[in-house]
């Protein structure tokens, strides 16, 4: 917890600010969301680390995939992930998003979530308790420090791959591709 060291703040404020103001998208994707309210209220107050639920994905930079992902929810997850502004991190709870978990043979849950959207951190536990969530958050801090939490860069570089997977599952997606498929560099205009 190097929040107090001012020298770090002046050296690279962007990274420090990313670490200590993680706003999580308030989107309950699976059964793990039952662990989030206790972690943000008075017993395990997450706000002391700067983690706060954000009312809209535009405000957020942390996306928690809590628990198994149904096929229909994946559409909403992709849409919300694409709405978030650029340096964004995703954390997945429990084993179901990793390889389907106990729903490995069910026809309507997603087996490997990182085939569709990039995931930076995994928190084990079915479902991880608030303490485990905080350990995950501190691990995320270290990754951000080392610059290893580059899910969003991976998403931008191989957007073709992710888009193809999504369309293989859902057929024609109603929303246009986030980044133009032909050339990788996105057009940036004020």
């Amino acid at each position: 917890m190097d929040r107090g060291q001012l020298s770090k703040w002046f050296k690279h404020p962007g990274i420090m600010a990313q670490k200590y103001s993680l706003w999580a998208v308030y989107f309950c994707t699976g059964c793990g969301i039952i662990e989030v309210p206790p972690s943000i209220t008075s017993r395990w107050d997450a706000e002391r680390f700067g983690v706060m639920p954000a009312p809209s994905p535009r405000h957020a930079n942390l996306f928690m995939i809590t628990g198994y992902v149904a096929t229909k929810t994946l559409k909403a997850i992709i849409r919300t992930y694409e709405l978030m502004p650029e340096p964004k991190y995703t954390v997945a709870f429990g084993s179901c998003p990793i390889n389907g978990g106990m729903y490995w043979d069910s026809y309507n849950t997603i087996k490997h979530i990182d085939k569709y959207i990039p995931i930076d951190g995994w928190i084990a536990g079915c479902m991880p308790r608030p303490e485990a969530i905080f350990i995950g958050v501190t691990k995320l801090w270290m990754m951000i420090d080392k610059g290893a939490a580059t899910g969003y860069k991976r998403y931008r570089e191989n957007y073709e791959y992710y888009r193809k997977n999504q369309e293989k599952l859902f057929g024609k997606l109603p929303w246009p591709p986030l980044f133009p498929i032909e050339d990788k560099n996105e057009k940036l205009t004020v």
Partner: protein, 161 residues
């Protein structure tokens, strides 16, 4: 109360049997043709509330069994009607004219079992992601095979590169 009702049903409905009656439950087995008349008859004497429609897949008798459950607001008695229809390309007429709230039950059974209810305006997908290819609740549906085909076939990032 339920005994005289059972006796009346057996008298004026051809080859319908009442397998079990008690203060709370009554099971009736009736052929496809009789169902419409039976439901109207029950609705007239008080069973105005269609609780639910479900379906059972008897794969070895090669038949689907549609189970209609109607309730009565002023007696605790629930009547459960079982109807057998053939299993291959199953169709059955919809009971929306009698009970309006049957649309979504029939829609669900259509999606999960593949029974086409003619007369139901909205047989659109309800829960699944509009895949017309398969009906998951039928006994001959192998979900592991389906998972292998749809999900495992998608490559991971390393395989893709």
């Amino acid at each position: 109360m339920s005994e005289e009702l059972a006796k009346e049903i057996i008298d004026n409905f051809s080859n319908t049997g009442v397998s079990y009656t008690s203060k709370y439950r009554m099971y009736i087995q009736t052929p496809k043709e009789e169902l419409f008349r039976l439901l109207e008859y029950l609705k007239d004497n008080g069973f105005k509330y269609l609780v639910m429609i479900t379906c059972v897949d008897w794969i070895n008798e090669n038949e689907f069994e549609l189970v209609y459950q109607v309730g009565n607001f002023n007696t605790p008695l629930r009547i459960i009607i079982q109807v057998r229809i053939p299993r291959n390309n199953p169709t059955y007429e919809s009971i929306i004219p009698i009970f309006k709230n049957a649309t979504d039950y029939e829609r669900e059974i259509h999606e999960l079992f593949g029974i086409v209810f003619d007369g139901n305006p909205k047989l659109t997908p309800l829960f699944l992601e509009d895949w017309q290819k398969f009906h998951p609740f039928k006994k001959d549906f192998d979900s592991r095979e389906y998972v292998k085909v749809t999900f495992d076939s998608i490559p991971t990032l390393e395989e893709y590169k």
